[in-house]
């Protein structure tokens, strides 16, 4: 019997490098994973593009789809931030440095970075969906990438300041002269120096210019629902507005049928779609 092709269902063997809470309420935890086999790392980074996701396997528990929250230049590790919700993410939260874990990916299309070259980028995130936008911002910060893009504006809102992820990095972003950062929380807190309000309202307040710009929106459905029309109102055309979709997933390969949205599979054809593409699809989200 000839050697069989490697199964696309087989996870890459990984180990937990670092595990730490991302939010003060411990609902969000970040895992940084290292590759057991250096060849797997080379294959992964040859294919990786910000905006892609992976399926993380906890043995005996199953798989969970999570967006990649690191840029390739950061090192031979992959970062994810998981909200503790179901049985797999609960098991992910229990992992400690040194524990084995499986990973399939990178999966999906990622952000169309080639087409965005020379443009101003408006990055708008809400809650834990900011993870892939964090990867995108980190990617853009690398000196060999930064020159390819124009003005960089980040708008990031969370319910409370404690739920804000990647706090140290974001604090440092405020000091950079090559980007503009707007942070927001839903309700006022003592010593909060940034915006207070919902992300769509902050977008209307910041009024990013649509001229030679693209906007990327990732957040909970309710935030996305009101942010997309706000951008259209500011003059962004549906072709220049992008969002990353989520649905329940199993295979991540466009076979199990679960994440279909009309004729598309979010796992294989997405997760990143332009608003123009979304407008042509049924409202089955």
């Amino acid at each position: 019997m000839p050697d069989q092709a490697q199964s696309p269902y087989l996870p890459i063997p990984m180990h937990v490098l670092h595990a730490y809470y991302e939010s003060t309420d411990h609902s969000l935890k970040t895992l940084e994973l290292s590759f057991d086999d250096p060849q797997d790392a080379r294959d992964f980074f040859a294919a990786f593009n910000p905006g892609q996701f992976c399926l993380l396997s906890v043995i005996g528990k199953g798989e969970s789809a999570l967006g990649v929250a690191s840029a390739a230049w950061e090192g031979d590790f992959v970062r994810f931030t998981a909200q503790k919700l179901g049985s797999v993410t609960t098991a992910l939260h229990a992992l400690k440095p040194g524990d084995p874990i499986g990973m399939r990916g990178p999966l999906g299309n990622g952000f169309p970075l080639e087409g965005w070259k020379g443009k101003n980028l408006v990055i708008i995130g809400g809650g834990c969906a900011f993870s892939t936008l964090y990867a995108l911002t980190k990617h853009l910060h690398h000196p060999s990438n930064r020159g390819d893009y124009g003005k960089l504006t980040v708008i990031y809102g969370t319910r409370t300041s404690g739920l804000c992820m990647y706090k140290q990095d974001i604090a440092a972003w405020h000091q950079r002269d090559d980007m503009e950062v707007h942070q927001a929380i839903d309700v006022p807190e003592q010593d909060w120096l940034h915006h207070v309000g919902y992300v769509p309202d902050v977008v209307k307040e910041v009024r990013p210019s649509p001229v030679n710009s693209v906007a990327v929106v990732c957040g909970p459905p309710i935030m996305t629902k009101f942010t997309l029309p706000a951008l259209v109102e500011l003059g962004f055309s549906p072709e220049t507005i992008f969002t990353s979709l989520e649905k329940r997933m199993k295979c991540g390969l466009g076979k199990c049928g679960r994440c279909n949205l009309g004729p598309k599979y979010i796992c294989k054809d997405g997760p990143v779609f332009s608003l123009a593409e979304l407008n042509a699809l049924p409202a089955d989200l």
């Binding site: 269902y9 084995p100 295979c251 076979k255 049928g257 049924p282």
Partner: protein, 339 residues
């Protein structure tokens, strides 16, 4: 070339194949016809004009199948998908046609499913055309037919005492090396019979413009009306030869990651961990089932994702009839007026 297989020689031919292949054919098990491997002294169940209850897709995508094994070190290893050469005899054209649609899912360029591919590669499919229309089938309505060749390596036409054998691929030719060629008269008889079988299949509903009707009426009360009596049991999808949805679960007690058939008709299918469900009721789930077959497949492969086997009609416990549902869909307005 067309060949003649005498019916009293059939078991001899099947037994000869058993030297080189595992041979599956319709046999009765507790009064239900299944594709089962032939054992010594087998008895075929070819007389029922209708199809097996479970379509032969189950021989390629088993209802439950282990994909990976847990290792001692907290990892996973691949379970090889070994399949011995096999023949499936007596497959109806609707079911063979459906397999070619599933190929477009499991044999995509980027991620070929090794389990599906190994079984497809190892299998020769000998079809049995339907000379008597079955009651709930509507193959000719949806672009298939009682003697459709798609997905078959050979097809048999029942001419009474004999079968006329048409080999359609090299794999099929290799199975029928010992048979006599048919006469002109026999060929003519067969093609008349094939034509008359197709002619006797009524057109069940209009397919022209059907996709557009479904797309344009995504929020119509129509979906509530046609899903009202649905129990959500999922039998229409489990027994459908073009349905392929599956779940992947870790079965910790046996140390395996397993894929099982799943269905978009269940609430938990699309239920997300946050509690959000894009298809919270049978209304949205019925819309998904019909739209997938009659709209989304059309976008993807330019074919209706249904071959008209009629199982969803025959086995629905409350008598929901997709033909009636689609006739009704055709009466819907073409553009939904904006409220």
């Amino acid at each position: 070339m067309n060949l003649i297989l005498k019916k009293d020689q059939l078991n001899i031919v099947l037994n000869a194949w058993r030297q080189d292949y595992e041979v599956y054919a319709p046999q009765s098990l507790q009064n239900i016809t299944h594709f089962l491997p032939l054992q010594d002294g087998f008895e075929l169940a070819l007389n029922n004009a209708h199809n097996t209850r479970i379509p032969p897709k189950a021989l390629f995508l088993p209802t439950s199948e282990a994909l990976l094994k847990f290792t001692r070190f907290g990892g996973y290893e691949q379970i090889p998908s070994e399949t011995a050469p096999r023949v499936i005899f007596g497959v109806r054209p609707c079911d063979a046609h459906a397999l070619t649609m599933l190929d477009t899912v499991f044999e995509q360029e980027r991620y070929t499913d090794p389990h599906w591919q190994a079984r497809r590669d190892a299998t020769v499919i000998v079809g049995l055309g339907c000379h008597e229309p079955c009651q709930t089938g509507f193959c000719t309505t949806v672009g298939s037919g009682p003697f459709n060749h798609t997905g078959l390596d050979a097809i048999l036409t029942d001419l009474g005492e004999i079968f006329l054998v048409e080999t359609l691929t090299e794999k099929g030719e290799r199975l029928f090396t010992q048979l006599e060629p048919s006469s002109e008269d026999q060929n003519t008889h067969a093609s008349q019979l094939q034509q008359s079988a197709a002619d006797r299949m009524p057109i069940a509903f209009e397919t022209d413009g059907l996709k557009q009707k479904l797309d344009q009426n995504f929020t119509s009360p129509y979906w509530e009306e046609v899903s009202r009596s649905c129990l959500g049991c999922g039998v229409c999808t489990f027994l459908c030869p073009t349905c392929f949805c599956f779940d992947i679960v870790d079965e910790a007690h046996r140390g395996e990651r397993v894929r099982n058939w799943d269905t978009c008709m269940f609430r938990t299918y699309s239920l997300e961990a946050s509690g959000h469900n894009p298809r919270p009721s049978r209304v949205e789930r019925t819309r998904q089932r019909l739209s997938h077959k009659y709209s989304y497949w059309v976008d993807q492969i330019n074919q209706i994702g249904c071959t008209g086997c009629g199982r969803c009609v025959r086995y629905c416990p409350v008598g929901l009839d997709i033909r009636a549902m689609l006739r009704k869909a055709h009466q819907l307005p073409s553009e939904v007026p904006h409220a």
